[in-house]
Amino acid sequence: MRRFRAMIKKEITQMLRDPRTLFFIFIMPILQLMLMGYANNSDVKNIATVVFDQSNTAESRDLISAFKSTEYYAFDYIATSDTQVNNLIQGGQAKVGIIIPPDYSSQLAAGKSAQVLVLIDGSDPTIASSTLSAAQLAGQARGAKILAETLSSRGSTLGTNASPVDVRTRVLYNPDLLGAYNIVPGLIAIILFQTTVNLTAMSIVRERERGTIEQLIVTPIRNWELVLAKIIPYILVSFANTILILVIGTLWFQVPIRGSLVLLFVLTGLYLLPNLGLGLLISTMAKTQQQAQMMTMPIMLPSMMLSGFIFPMASLPLFLQAVGYMLPLTYFIIILRSLVIKGAGLELLIPQTFVLIGFSIVLLTLAALRFKKSLD
């Protein structure tokens, strides 16, 4: 234990004396948060949608195809209850829920206005704002068509002031469509990715580059002591960063934390594992800090672009989506947005949690197999 303690003490002393590392750890996250917090939106299509069609008639199916024809909605899920609609949105599988009431076609037949409820996940304002206007347009288009058919069959223009289809939209979680709701949780994931992968790889490669590893490996220090002592300071830093971003996010950008903080920290801890594994793996391959940085790049870039952090997954071509789904970050972003913004509990985040466990096992095993206490 003394060896291990000595090693950790050394790591923390070195970390606190290196201005570059300190900047990376504490200033970068704030800069990124401030820059990204004001990021802009762009247009999206094929948004995962759940429909709960209680009417289940020719008329209701016509309405669904009217939504479909806008190309904004991909009807991936069919629900059988309101709760199911809610859970799919809260868990992040669906972004939009369309609820058609049981009396939809009877209301229309009676010449009355039929209400349709469209729920929109506001935690991703990019998606939400596009969806919002598309839903209203689809409703109006369908309504106009019904109206025209009715008119031609009756040959009359009487009593037709109101649109027969009344689409009521409700943006969930983020009614004002604030960009920060999307950015703040995503940024926690991004920053943790940067600190853990980068700094873990760097702190080991630095020993190799400066030659200090040569003196270290001739001591009786064990492999696991060396690795854990390298990792633990960055685990602490990661949690400090998470708290820092949450505090700034809440106080400055007024992003609410709706889920359980304990669950947030537990899942954050889980997310750190594949990243640390990746950092270690890079450290076994790179000889210089520059090489390590070059090796992080090809992972860093897709992580920023393809994880759903900046561009919604749905807006990407399929093969880029496939790349995105190979990154642990993608799953953690879903977890964070669901948890922080929508208040989702673990029961809704089980698939993502298992994927992260899988990544952890694979990456840590690979790193452990490759990490050797030797100059070879």
């Binding site: 090693m7 003490k9 050394k10 070195q14 030659g211 070879d376």
Partner: protein, 313 residues
């Protein structure tokens, strides 16, 4: 089984791809003995040192150190090895004392003893007054001394020093050797690699190494005796022309410039000492002196490199 050697290797081989950096090295070091591993750059000295300290794993062959045989028992052996790498490899951002404390703690020396030993080593290395200075801010000589102090903190039986005096001024070098001589009295075994022949005279024994192999070994004085009466010193002007004339003599094997003089290695001294003055006079060159001088280790080493594999050992 107790061996008379604290350190011995058996047919040690280390290859990097096609390169055989260490190629069947056999060496032994006794307690209280300081052995020099001497050879040109690229001879395999550093690789050999790294194999001995367990920083690299041998491709084949074995090492026995203080009763431990490795690769198998390398972790047990580490407590008996003090290693000073060629490059400065302590933590530049930690202070002198923090470096020493760190290695003391890594070797799990009981706290009270460690404190005492740190203080002793700082005094021994003459670094007491620099204890709070970052290691990166020390001079080259002081860094080497700190390296030595850190390598000694766990009182190892075998000390492996890879070019410990490279980039160190002569005064600091002298101090460094004095520190080592003190250690030998305590029964440690010290193996030092160096490319400097003048330093090799300090060793109890030298091992000449080239192309990953030990060419020959012995007590420096005995090695030099092999070339007794075969080195002539020539002082003639102009030197360039004198060199050409000397080199053309059938019994001169090699000519080297040594400051203002030329050193000739001859197969026998008699012929050249009569022929060369005559030829210099013919060419109208001025001869100041030509007489035998004691060979240096450098002469021996150059001779060895040129006649490599020709029956030495």
């Amino acid at each position: 089984m107790e061996s008379e050697f604290l350190l011995e290797t058996h047919d040690l081989v280390k290859t990097f791809g096609a390169l055989r950096a260490v190629d069947g090295l056999n060496l032994q070091v006794r307690p209280g003995e300081m052995v020099g591993l001497v050879g040109p750059d690229g001879a395999g000295k550093t690789t050999a040192m790294r194999l001995l300290c367990g920083a690299l794993h041998a491709t084949s062959g074995s090492i026995r150190l203080a009763g431990y045989e490795y690769p198998g028992q390398i972790e047990q052996a580490r407590g008996e090895i003090g290693y000073l790498a060629q490059r400065f490899s302590l933590y530049g951002d930690l202070t002198v004392k923090e470096n020493l404390d760190f290695f003391g703690e890594i070797f799990e020396i009981p706290e009270k003893e460690r404190q005492q030993r740190s203080a002793d080593l700082l005094r021994f290395a003459g670094l007491s007054e620099f204890a709070e200075r970052p290691a990166a801010a020390l001079s080259g000589g002081m860094q080497k001394k700190l390296g030595l102090a850190c390598a000694l903190v766990h009182q190892p039986k075998v000390l492996l020093l890879d070019e410990p005096t490279g980039g160190v001024d002569p005064v600091a070098r002298q101090e460094f050797w004095q520190l080592l001589i003190g250690l030998l009295r305590g029964g440690s075994a010290v193996l030092v690699s160096t490319p400097y022949m003048d330093e090799a005279m300090r060793f109890n024994r030298v091992i000449f190494m080239n192309h990953g192999k030990a060419l020959t070994q012995g007590i420096p004085r005995n090695l030099m005796a092999r070339l007794a009466d075969r080195i002539l010193e020539l002082d003639a002007e102009p030197q360039m022309e004198a060199k050409a004339i000397a080199a053309s003599d059938p019994e001169v094997e090699d000519v080297h410039t040594f400051g203002n003089y030329l050193h000739l290695r001859v197969s026998t001294a008699e012929g050249p000492t009569t022929r060369i003055p005559a030829r210099l006079a013919e060419a109208g060159l001025k001869l100041n002196h030509l007489y035998p001088v004691p060979p240096t280790l450098e002469d021996v080493f150059i001779h060895l490199l040129e006649t490599e594999g020709a029956g030495y050992g």
